[in-house]
Symmetry: C2
Subunit: 192 residues, 2 copies
Amino acid sequence: MAPGRVIYVATSNMHKVEEINAVLQECGYRVEPIDAPKLEIQGDLKRVALYAAATAYSIVGKPVLVEDAGLFIEALRGFPGPYSSYVYKTIGIDGILRLMKGVDNRRAYFYSVIALAYGGGLALFEGRCDGYIADGPRGDKGFGFDPIFIPEGDNRTFAEMDVEEKNKYSHRARAARALCSWLERNQQVLTS
Amino acid sequence: MAPGRVIYVATSNMHKVEEINAVLQECGYRVEPIDAPKLEIQGDLKRVALYAAATAYSIVGKPVLVEDAGLFIEALRGFPGPYSSYVYKTIGIDGILRLMKGVDNRRAYFYSVIALAYGGGLALFEGRCDGYIADGPRGDKGFGFDPIFIPEGDNRTFAEMDVEEKNKYSHRARAARALCSWLERNQQVLTS
């Protein structure tokens, strides 16, 4: 088990855990998944994450993170947005490519929010990564819509990158870095 | 204003109000929209409706209904399902038709749940309408995905039918009829 102070994270997605930990090790923390009830309301990702973190904390009673993310495609009015994981499980990558067939505007962004609930309240961290929807899936790393997302500044998809490479660009790593600097400034808060 | 005992309904969708009232008048009730906070969790429609009704009742303090519905398309693994109104507002009817282009299996169903929260607890009513996704939109009545849904037993879409005709088939009318018979058996509960 890696060293570092532990913060629980209410997720069963080990890809997310790995990506967040690759960043958090830089500030001496690590997340550990916890099987907490994660009550997700409908709405924008900030509301979803804050509500889920608050309810998880009310049960766990220890500092706990919720990370929620979505892919927002400009030509589809932000679809699949907050419901990206549901859309991934139903129409999937193939469905997104069908919807984008012949569409010139491929602009999209991934957006991540991390909500931290602890004895002192709630803190929210955001990260965004602009890029493009690929014409077809490429790569087998990462998860979700990674095979069809190309971040600005590269020509590979997220699924063609290792965690370290993806983290140079990714929405989730950016949110985790914001969390890192908050943790460095607020260590007392979590340990007291 | 129509006669009948009033039950509040947490919605701003006047189409829903009209469709439900066309059924409820048969048992001497009518719904009136109320601007109650409607906290919608993510999940299947039963959980969504029960939770939203319970939270609305905790604030309104009077019997209140929540109706939630979705279109479940077999070939799309149930998509758009519980997130039908979000999907309608983003990729819309055009997006569904793109996803269904060249797909032979057009089977789909509309599913409605009505949750009633009152002093005695929560009661849930369901209605389902099986049918097919049309090749293109037809009609300008109704709302949402009505122009592309053809109920079994007819060859018109919901959007080509008046409320009375749609209610012969519709998921929402079926749920409302179940509510009606419950109300007839439980009048004391709501008035006391």
